[in-house]
Symmetry: none
DNA sequence: GCCGTTTGTCGCAGAGTTGTGCCTGACCAA
DNA sequence: TTGGTCAGGCACAACTCTGCGACAAACGGC
């Protein structure tokens, strides 16, 4: 959680700039807005922002050419806004190196979700599939059957895990001991659903704890790091 | 600490100039006041100040145009004062290159906080992530596990660090030996909360010392530089 | 189409952390 | 030595973060 990310919104419509800017500022981001590619370049001179939200359709220089030009000089995450729901344009945008796109009219919440996803990806951990090549993994008094997505207790009794629980547990097993932020966990659990409220991770952790911890109130396997995230602190042995 | 920063307050209201000027002078800053853009330019001829506090609404030439003109000729931190609580205007200010803004009526303390934040940003140290690419760092009789956010003592016993403690220690490890001012430390520890009273750093240092120093009363690792800040003076080896 | 399961969201209460006030003691300059 | 400023440290308060129960929406099987 470094200092708040800096987002630049580029759109020729004042009302969209207002709406988006206001909403994102409210969410704690540092916002700059620009009405054209030229104005954007002026902002960029004063330091690189984290992601850029860029309208495709603008009079004069359009978003695609701005993107093309930016990409040639610097590595910046770009999220496109486009009025055209036509897939062709989406694909062109992504081909140019956009990290994501959104078609108007859009829900501000969804934009927020995309932005967070992009930011997550930028700070993402390298994957570590090695740890889990094995068919079963042992930790604490459990044995995880990766294929069956099932936990087997010391007494041989199996407990079924839901998809999300299994993904979360796998993310932990692939990065044992590390303190993982909620954003990283969202990323690791293949945060397919563009959900933005990372409190959902809290809930998943809570549910998982209820299944695997002897005493869920005093968790011994998944530890909480106040202000930091969670870590998996049990010994792991793959078989 | 170098010589006190020089702040120019530009507002057409005499009472605000007095109030703000008096308060900031009391805090140890060198203050100039101006009632208009013309007066500001006269002050600027005599040397560039550090930040400018600029009212948006002024008769004649307003703050926005003053800002636009300043930005075209020199690189100066600008903090806007605006009576309009409307977010649109805030964003317009940022678009023009303001570094921060404040809506009237404002708390002088908050203005102070913003000024300090801007000054911190201007004097900020370049980040030095290289030093800590390694997974663990050794110093004194400790070994810091960066991923686990844990200190391991010579006896192998781990000590958990809180988020703020970990950030502070990391800041020190990334700039070993350097005397870091409280402002720089606030900046390095991602001083998210724009709190102005740097005594909080003292407290963090105190808490950290209690955890890592053999004798917290006679600190050997984190040294105090009277009137200057703190420095990390242990040998560091990354593994 | 209905129903059970899963999963995200909300809201509140509790826990832990972190900032602030205040006092004491250390350091520096006359 | 004396006065002033700055740092250390304690304790409290405020704050933020987290845990979790409850609810609702989404999903999938039948």
């Amino acid at each position: 959680m470094q200092s708040a990310p800096h987002i630049v919104v580029v759109d020729d419509h004042g009302d969209i700039r207002d709406l988006v800017g206001k909403y994102l500022a409210q969410q704690g981001y540092r916002i700059s807005v620009a009405e054209s590619g030229t104005a954007l370049r002026r902002i960029l001179e004063r330091g690189a922002p984290d992601p850029i939200v860029l309208d495709v359709m603008m009079p004069g220089e359009d978003g695609l050419s701005v993107c093309r030009q930016l990409r040639s000089t610097m590595q910046l995450p770009i999220i496109f806004l486009t009025a055209m729901a036509d897939d062709t344009d989406r694909i062109i945008g992504l081909e140019l190196g956009a990290d994501d796109y959104l078609t108007k009219p859009f829900n501000p919440r969804e934009l927020l979700a995309r932005i967070r996803a992009v930011l997550r990806r930028v700070n993402s951990l390298p994957p570590n599939r090695e740890a889990i090549k094995a068919k079963t993994v042992q930790f604490d008094h459990w044995q995880l059957d990766v294929g069956r997505r099932e936990l087997i207790g010391g007494d041989g009794v199996g407990i079924a895990l839901s998809t999300a629980e299994f993904r979360l547990l796998k993310a932990f097993l692939e990065h044992p001991g590390l303190v993982l932020s909620r954003d990283q966990l969202l990323d690791l659990t293949a945060g397919r659903s563009a959900d933005c409220f990372d409190r959902s991770i809290d809930n998943q952790v809570s549910r998982l704890r209820k299944k695997i911890e002897l005493d869920p109130k005093n968790p011994a396997i998944i530890k909480t790091h106040w202000g930091g995230g969670y870590s998996f602190s049990a010994e792991i042995a793959s078989a």
